[in-house]
């Protein structure tokens, strides 16, 4: 089981509001993000990036997340169900938050497509900050940018299928009879 080191993430989050930062690129495709141990850090990142998007300064935010879980056969069914639920809930929350923000400011969430039998996504997680239009560590950013540039590698997360009104039963509870 992978343990996510929060230190580089928190250091980057502390710096994202610097005026020099012109873009943020975050890759979070490890299954560890879906486990309870990473929940606090995941929320911190989501909230920090949403706050950046809501700020007055325009900063391009690209995030790469899993589209679906890779083939993992060595986890018990309950754990797999919990991972799937956490993944679905995370994507739902990101989609709704995206819909609440003006289109120009929305973080762009790219879902990395994983083959049905693929056991690993082969990508290294991390967050990179672009300063004044240039990536301080081009090699680190190159892998993520390569994924974004590869046609068909990702699919965007949109809010088109979110029911803004909530479940129909709220409007007419008698449907539950």
């Amino acid at each position: 089981m992978t343990t996510i080191d929060p230190t580089p993430w928190r250091e980057a989050l502390a710096a994202i509001h610097d005026r020099q930062v012109t873009a943020v690129l975050a890759m979070q495709c490890d299954l560890g993000w879906l486990r309870p141990a990473a929940a606090v850090l995941r929320d911190e990142i989501d909230e920090a990036l949403a706050a950046l998007a809501m700020g007055r300064r325009r900063v391009r935010i690209d995030r790469i997340l899993l589209h679906s879980l890779p083939a993992i056969g060595d986890v018990p069914p309950e754990e797999l169900a919990a991972l799937n639920a956490a993944h679905a809930d995370w994507l739902y929350r990101l989609a709704v938050v995206g819909v609440l923000l003006p289109e120009a400011a929305r973080p762009k969430v790219h879902r990395l497509i994983v083959g049905g039998s693929q056991r690993s996504v082969g990508a290294v997680d991390g967050i990179e900050l672009q300063l004044n239009g240039a990536w301080p560590d081009p090699d680190a950013a190159a892998a993520s940018l390569g994924i974004l540039r590869r046609t068909g590698a990702t699919t965007p997360l949109t809010g088109y299928d979110i029911d803004m009104d909530g479940p129909f039963g709220d409007a007419d509870p008698s449907v539950y009879l």
């Binding site: 989501d46 949403a50 739902y92 929350r93 938050v97 609440l100 003006p102 409007a171």
Partner: protein, 614 residues
């Protein structure tokens, strides 16, 4: 091609499997000896008689003489049982089924004992061997003794009381069997033949509008052993309550019978799940009580709302809807009294105290209590304040006082939270941000499920705190809207994003709250919906916290917040506001933001009667 040896092996295995299957009842009976005193007595007696037969075998003449009498008595008992059975039980009845009756009167045991005795006697006489025939004659005596026992037990069942006792015992046993482990309880309950037979009988009685049958069945469930208070028992209470309500709403069941039986069941549910003990209740017990109270509260609120809807649509009669609405309001009032550690008009010491002893249990209950526009929901905030702070709230929501603002200050303002209850609550929330987030989530659930104000509310369905009065609706909404932790549109947007985007972690207070209500969530027809799955309600919950509470206050920040939202979510929020909040008399609304702001003026109706202090 398989070899002959393999084929033979396969055949042997199949034969062994078949033999095991056929012998399964006997094996199961033998295994049950250690658990059943009756089986143990039968087995011990048979063993003793075998020893007697071996030690002192009887002559052929003595065996024949003895058997003539015992077989005659055996036949008499058999005939007697058949007559009682034919007169007392319907062969098609599943409740009690033949299996339950048999296990109660030991019918098969004594018939099998008699059959075995007859075989041994016949074999012994044919083969001229004394021991088997002697043993058979003695076994016949034992069969007669057991037959008499069976006859008396059957007579007991012929009366209504006796049958009730059997059914209660059968139900108790079935609930005992399915209740553990917690995972898969719903599946086990659905598959259990006894519970299915009980529910089938219930539905049948309700469909026939058999008031006595329905009352009897509800009585059986409510009077099963008082120690039976596991999740399965509580779930069955809620399930049967719903079947009653449904039969009255869309079936032919007399609504008075339905509401009477449902009231008995809700009373039984609360007694089993929640006893107001004051102190010393462990967290798991408090959470279980909260789960039952929350699900019952939201179910009752839903029932009142649905009764109104179906009555207006002419699906159900006004009398049935009125009876169920009245039942809902009464039962919710009882739940409120149970939650309140110091309820008004307490009848005695038994009314004092509360089963809700920690923050998670209190929040779990109030979350359910405020869903579906439930009656007395604003009053529910008083016990919440008292339990969480250890002191009473000195104010009146009807005058516009804010319990939540008072609670926030009592817990998080500098120099407060000095009592043990307040300190424990503060620790449970962790920080004021969590306090604000959790109450915003609560309010989203309450706002999303408010009744449709565009639907008529017939006068016959008006009950205390179940009426279309905009001032009451304003008071309910204001209990949440007066919880103001931001003042600008930018802050409101951040609060909205946090309300929806923050998932939290296992073990935080919100997860504890959801976990407390989860075990019984499936036993009511309305699904438990996470507030963030109701985006428009989250927006309205935030917007209401910016809306002016008094006429003349500026609403610029509210409008800035609303107009800053993308059109899709703004329109959805406007649709929700149009459904749940009344339109003001003068509504020059020119767009969705204007319309929402105008409808939120319902908050200003509260406290308008307040007299100036002397």
């Amino acid at each position: 091609m398989s070899s002959p040896a393999t084929q033979a092996g396969g055949r042997a295995l199949r034969t062994w499997t078949r033999a095991r299957r056929h012998a399964a009842p006997a094996v199961s009976w033998i295994k049950g000896i250690t658990h059943s005193p009756r089986r143990a007595a039968l087995s011990a007696s048979a063993l003793i008689l075998l020893i007697v037969a071996i030690v002192t075998p009887l002559s052929r003449g003595d065996v024949i003489d003895s058997v003539q009498f015992s077989i005659a008595f055996f036949a008499t008992l058999l005939t007697g049982e058949a007559v009682i059975f034919a007169l007392s039980f319907s062969p098609s009845s599943a409740w009690p089924s033949l299996r339950e009756i048999d296990s109660h009167i030991a019918f098969r045991e004594w018939v099998v004992t008699g059959w075995l005795a007859a075989m041994l006697i016949a074999g012994g006489l044919l083969l001229h061997t004394a021991i088997p025939s002697t043993y058979g004659a003695l076994l016949f005596l034992l069969a007669d003794v057991f037959g008499m026992f069976s006859f008396i037990r059957l007579f007991g069942l012929a009366s209504a009381d006796g049958r009730q006792r059997l059914l209660r015992r059968t139900l108790t046993k079935a609930l005992d069997t399915v209740t553990t482990p917690a995972p898969g309880l719903r599946r086990r309950m659905r598959a259990d033949p006894v519970l299915n037979a009980y529910l089938g009988q219930f539905d049948e009685a309700a469909a026939r509008s058999d008031g006595n049958g329905v009352r009897e069945l509800a009585e059986q469930l409510s009077t099963i052993r008082v120690t039976m208070n596991g999740t399965a028992t509580l779930a069955l209470h809620l399930d049967v309550t719903h079947r009653l309500a449904k039969a009255a709403l869309v079936g032919k069941l007399d609504p008075v019978v339905a509401s009477g039986a449902a009231e008995v069941l809700i009373g039984s549910l609360l007694t089993r799940a929640a006893t107001p003990c004051g102190t010393g209740i462990e967290a798991p017990e408090a959470h279980r009580a909260a789960g039952a109270m929350a699900q019952a509260s939201r179910y009752l609120a839903w029932l009142a709302s649905t009764s109104l809807t179906l009555s207006v649509q002419d699906v159900t009669t006004a009398s049935a809807a009125r009876e169920l609405v009245a039942f809902s309001v009464r039962a919710r009032d009882e739940i409120l009294r149970l939650a309140d550690p110091d309820p008004p008009y307490a009848a005695g010491a038994t009314d004092m105290g509360t089963p809700l002893t920690d923050a998670a249990s209190v929040l779990a209950w109030i979350g359910g209590f405020t869903e579906f526009h439930g009656s007395h929901q604003a009053a529910g905030l008083y016990p919440v304040y008292e339990i969480l702070t250890g002191t009473k709230f000195l104010g009146n929501y009807w005058d516009g006082d804010s319990v939540l603002t008072g609670l926030r200050e009592a817990l998080f303002a500098p120099g407060t939270a000095d009592g043990p209850a307040a300190q424990a609550t503060k620790k449970s929330f962790g920080n004021v941000g969590e306090f604000d987030r959790i109450w915003t989530l609560m309010s989203a659930g309450a706002i999303a499920s408010l009744r449709d104000v565009r639907r008529a509310h017939p006068p016959e369905l008006i009950r205390p705190e179940f009426d279309p009065d905009p001032q009451l609706l304003g008071a309910y909404l204001r209990t949440f809207a007066s919880h103001r932790y931001f003042t600008t549109s930018d802050e409101a947007m951040r609060a909205l994003v946090r309300t929806i985007g923050h998932a939290g972690h296992h073990g935080d207070l919100w997860h504890q709250v959801r976990a407390a209500t989860a075990p019984l969530a499936w036993s009511v027809p309305m699904p438990a919906i996470e507030p963030h799955r109701r985006p428009s309600a989250c927006v309205l919950a935030i917007a209401s916290r910016l809306a002016p509470l008094a006429a003349g206050e500026p609403d610029g920040q509210l409008r800035a917040f609303l107009t800053g939202l993308p059109p899709d979510i703004l329109n959805a929020t406007a649709r929700l506001a149009a459904r749940t909040l009344p339109a003001p008399d003068t509504n020059p609304a020119s767009g969705p933001a204007d319309d929402i702001a105008a409808r939120l003026r319902v908050l200003q109706l509260v406290g308008t009667h307040r007299a100036s202090p002397p």
